[in-house]
Amino acid sequence: MKAAPHLAELRPPARRFDVARIRDDFPILKQKVHGKPLVYFDNGATSQKPQSVIDALNHYYNAENSNIHRGVHYLSERATAAYEEARSKIRGFINAGSNQEVIFVRGTTEAINLVAQSYGRSFLKAGDEIIISAMEHHSNIVPWQMLCEQVGAKLRVSPINHDGEIVMDEYRRLLSEKTKFVSVTHVSNALGTILPAKEIVALAHERGIPVLLDGAQAVPHFRVDVQDLGCDFYAFSGHKMFGPTGVGVLYGRGELLEKMPPYQGGGDMISLVTFEKTHYNVLPYKFEAGTPHISGGIGLGAAIDYLQALDWQGLAAHEHALLSHATESLLSIHGLKIIGTAKEKAGVLSFVFDHVHAHDIGTILDQDGVAVRSGHHCAMPVMQRFGVPATTRASFAFYNTTEEIDVLVKAIHRALKVFD
């Protein structure tokens, strides 16, 4: 796992990573499902929330609820301060250059749509090309297809090898004078592959091509430093990094954001409105029309506080141990095939059997309290690439344990018995 050192150096952790203590912070993990202890392995879909995040949401509605950037009254000032403080925390978390480069959105999907529509419609034209990879989530495919239809641009797909790694030579070959945008995932949600993001960005930048990284599956697992990556845009969701649903972040380089027109019109994104002409607000508010998800933003700030206090070296070692143990244990199951065997991987294990469908596995595992995802993981082209209709995916978070992986393995054996 890669770790950008800047934040770890800034804040030494209060104590060593201890998974038993960590689990105590997540109340939902204590519950039973169908009479069995919950084993939550669907973190790629959404992560669970620590008590401190739940408390922050409660506190906001109990004591601070008010609209932001508007009232002169006490509550409005408090809510505004809390919301803007969360923006500062996010800036620190991803090492953005300034708060103006941190735009609150609903999630990764909205962040990508914002860039496709605002940047794409302004600066791309017929004949231009956009490069994505063959392991994108639908949210990093469809917004670009929509843009292509609107402006007549062409979508080019950078292929992956059989381990689920991007083929860099092919990517280099695809880059040309026609390429006007690159948008790739940082970590594949279906395969777990960690892409060589820095290299992808550098190669595009040699030709002056801007790059968006979809970081939804990256931020929960390792440190992300947007300036070190050099990317122009970075998109991620709060709910996959232990924060609330409905809130996410688009980081954009100020220089590009300044040139881009607003994505949506409405309140908060204006400085002056007359019926003849409207003057837009400054960054980041230009891209934040309407009352935002205030409690969500504050909750995301609380999630970042929680993450900042963790021992990230210990966390990385723990997640690495989880993935190794899981990979080894699953491969010992007769007939099981892992889809996604990249050298650099985050805690995601997708697997299939020839004779048992992922859905049936998912239902049977659930009866043993084990929550996994079965299906195409919003990445149908990835499924096609590997010639499978669906996979079962176990995706880990730092609160998971090796004992839980043993429960998963036992449950898989039980499922296989049904189809013997």
Binding site: V356, H357, H359, T363, P389
Partner: protein
């Protein structure tokens, strides 16, 4: 019997392993494709309709045990039936899978298909069992757009 045993009964597992009428039909005069966009299951249902009667029915595709078994049993049930009887059966299956029909109704009206009634305890799997039925419905109506369970 646990809910799980109820879902994966021997008969269902057998249909999954050796699906009946699992073949392409060259002389089909009705055909429809069905997708379950949530899980990627897809099925193609072929019909040979003559004088309002389903002379032959077959299917192809890929899916979980529940969707395959449901499609396989459906072909057995509908072969030789009139169009009207097929529509009526579609309605009954729908009621059974969503738990709207009561137990007596199910065993009286559904015959062999009653074995699929365990699915209603697994809401996430209802669409697996209903995919083939939605698809045959579309084939009977002569719809050309792929059907989805959404």
């Amino acid at each position: 019997m646990s809910d799980l045993d109820d879902l994966y009964q021997e008969v269902i597992l057998d249909h999954n392993k050796s699906p009946r009428n699992f073949r392409l039909m060259a002389d089909a005069n009705r055909k429809a494709e069905g997708y379950n966009p949530l899980c990627g299951d897809h099925v193609t249902v072929f019909l040979h309709l003559k004088d309002g009667i389903i002379q032959d029915i077959s299917f192809q595709g890929s899916g979980c045990a529940i969707s395959k078994a449901s499609a396989s049993m459906m072909t057995g049930e509908l072969k030789g039936k009139t169009e009207a009887a097929a529509y009526a059966m579609f309605d009954n299956v729908h009621k059974m899978l969503t738990g709207e029909a009561n137990g007596d109704d199910v065993s009286r009206r559904m015959g062999k298909l009653a074995i699929l009634s365990g699915v209603c305890k697994f809401p996430a799997r209802v669409k697996c069992a209903s995919l083939a039925w939605h698809t045959v419905h579309a084939a009977l109506k002569g719809e050309t757009r792929p059907t989805t369970t959404e």
